[in-house]
């Protein structure tokens, strides 16, 4: 007798179930990591944002005591975001990210769907082929596009064959948005593929058997079942897009396409008002926290539905 009938002994699975501390222990390294590399730096950013400026060097002087935080500069930055020069940057960032995300979904969802549903045995090979170009460093890929999109670039000359003579690098919002799409789309395809690949496709067949046409089956079955993946993928690409600054730096460099990340970069690295950079980081983080809350709420609702 090897297993099962020894009622006096506890199996390893039972031990795990009865050891909640063990699960908590798994989170310990991550917790330490987050405290050291997220919570503390984030507190430092807040201390800079609500601190003072060195009168000589115009560097940030962090105020480590929260009781002494000064909110004067914060009011100015918020006013600027609401009604001043930074308002346009904030709105433009939201519009660019929204457009880029929409394009990512339009392009990425069919790819992920095809890979999960129709690629068969070639599924992994095709997935790798799609992802491989993105192993190249983001900066290098964008610089390559700068060459392709320049006035005498290969892509620009190719488009002229079709009568499209467009100066892609003249500070164009289209170029910046497409750059964001190109840069972040693999991070959308991967989680979407993971979600779609786990779908029980027999439910689609059942829907069809019950009279749904292919569009109805997609709308009423596939789309709701892939909602968690869509939201996760959206959040995954939205977060870095909102903080992105180098796509604009490389493909535009025009004030008319400045995103909030460019202003953060400027204030922190090239101005004598680093406080403003820290304040914009905090504001952006709060905004993204709202997106993250939506994601958590969505996943919680989904898990409840599954449990029922």
């Amino acid at each position: 007798m090897l297993f099962g009938s020894n009622s006096g002994r506890v199996s390893p699975q039972d031990k795990l179930k009865k050891s909640p501390r063990l699960w908590a222990g798994f989170a310990f390294p991550g917790t330490i990591w987050l405290i050291a590399l997220f919570a503390l730096p984030f507190y430092a950013v807040a201390c800079i944002a609500f601190g003072t400026i060195d009168p000589i060097f115009r560097d940030a002087v962090p105020q480590w005591n929260p009781l002494s935080w000064d909110f004067t500069q914060a009011r100015q930055v918020l006013t600027s975001l609401a009604t001043g020069p930074l308002r346009g940057v904030g709105l433009r960032t939201i519009v660019y990210v929204f457009c880029a995300m929409t394009l990512c979904f339009v392009v990425g969802f069919p790819i992920a769907y095809f890979l999960a549903r129709h690629a068969g045995k070639r599924k992994m090979m095709l997935l790798v082929l799609i992802i491989v170009p993105f192993w190249v460093n983001y900066l290098m890929r964008m610089l390559a596009w700068v060459n392709l999109l320049s006035v005498d670039g290969l892509f620009t000359r190719f488009m002229r064959i079709f009568g499209i003579n467009y100066n892609w690098l003249d500070g164009s919002p289209i170029t910046v948005t497409l750059g964001l799409v190109y840069g972040y789309i693999p991070f959308l395809i991967l989680p979407l593929f993971a979600t779609l690949d786990r779908l029980d496709w027999r439910l689609i067949d059942a829907a069809r058997d019950l009279g749904a046409n292919s569009r109805q089956a997609f709308r009423l079955v596939t789309l709701p079942m892939s909602r968690a993946g869509l939201v996760a993928a959206g959040v995954l690409i939205a977060l870095p897009m909102f903080g992105d600054y180098y796509t604009n730096d490389l493909l535009s460099r025009s004030p008319s396409t400045e995103m909030i990340g460019n202003q953060i970069d400027f204030f922190l690295n090239a101005s004598s008002q680093p406080q403003n950079g820290a304040l914009l980081v905090l504001t952006l983080s709060l905004f993204l926290l709202l997106l993250m809350s939506f994601y958590l709420r969505s996943t919680r609702q989904q898990s409840r539905q599954v449990t029922r």
Partner: protein
Amino acid sequence: MGRRDFLRNLAITSGAITFGGSLLAACGGSTETESGGLSIGTPQNPIKLPVTTDAIADGLPNESGTLEILNWADYQNPDSIAIFEEKFGCKVVTSIYDTEEAAIAKLRNGTFKPDLILGMTDTGLAKLVAADLLQPLNKSYIPNFGNVISGLQNPYYDLESQYTVPYFIYGNGIGYRTDRIDKNAFAGNGYDTLWDPQFSGKLALLDSYRDTLAMAMFRAGNFDANTTDAAVITKAGDDLVALREATNPKVDILAYQELPAGNRDINFTWSGDLFTALQYLPEGVKPDVLGFWYPDKTIAKNDFMCVTKAAKAPVLAHQLINFLSDTDNALLNREYVGYQPALESITVDLLISSGTIPESLVDALVTPEKYDAGIAQVSLEPQADALWLEQWTRFTAG
């Protein structure tokens, strides 16, 4: 904590961590200065900078190992550096900076620890000295100091050249493509060309708030490049916003690449960039496609070389300053960099006779007369600096 909670918490933080870079960058160390203020020299009030330490002693042997340099991108000839390395048996490692403000911040918090800084200007010198980051030079290691343009051997920003040796000279003006813009376009107030909507999308300005706001002031007839007058600064900001609306300009320091590549027609930039641009011309494109309009009244200035107080190889740093101040070495360095060395022997006539300067770029050369007539740009007091930055933000925020 259940598995789901664990994963949920991980998801929250993985999202938040995307900001890690910005957050960590924001945490760059900074300490409040104990200095009483900035020592700012002006042509009207030259200054002898305070010295807090002795220069290195005479006759020390060259260090072996590595010499670390902090410099702008493409601002030294790799061939010149290779010759120096061979001659002095050392290795030269170069770090790059793209704004003086960022470089000074990183020097102060220890991110950069170079032996020698190249290309810094007097707008940054006051802060470098206030932060006690420089050591005085021992001229016995720099016999070629005598080659420096006589008017710059005792500059207003550093009387007796205690800390600095001039590197290159240049003036601010407008680079353009002669195959797309006629030079007569600059007749009258040449600055107006930058506000011309016909160049929309093909125009760029310097990513330097001091230079570009000053340019807007000059266009309006205000020739104080260091003004603290809020009305003048605001007017310059208004004019730049109008320029932005009219021409959708780019803001960078890439004129030397983008003009020769044909990606833009016109660029407010430093004169030396046009000579650097000659090396970036595509094959088959003639050098005379590049032109430069040098305004009658504009900023003319020089940058310089200086040794850091914490230099690990101060003798080698002095040797490289001396090496680059030699006429032949400076000419070789200029072949790559393009800018005019600040040496008496390298005259405009010499450069023209070398055959490397196309006729269309003769105006970009800084003659002694142009340099003397140039408007000086000095460090600003913090309150005035904040006014300039406020207007710059209005412009760059789009």
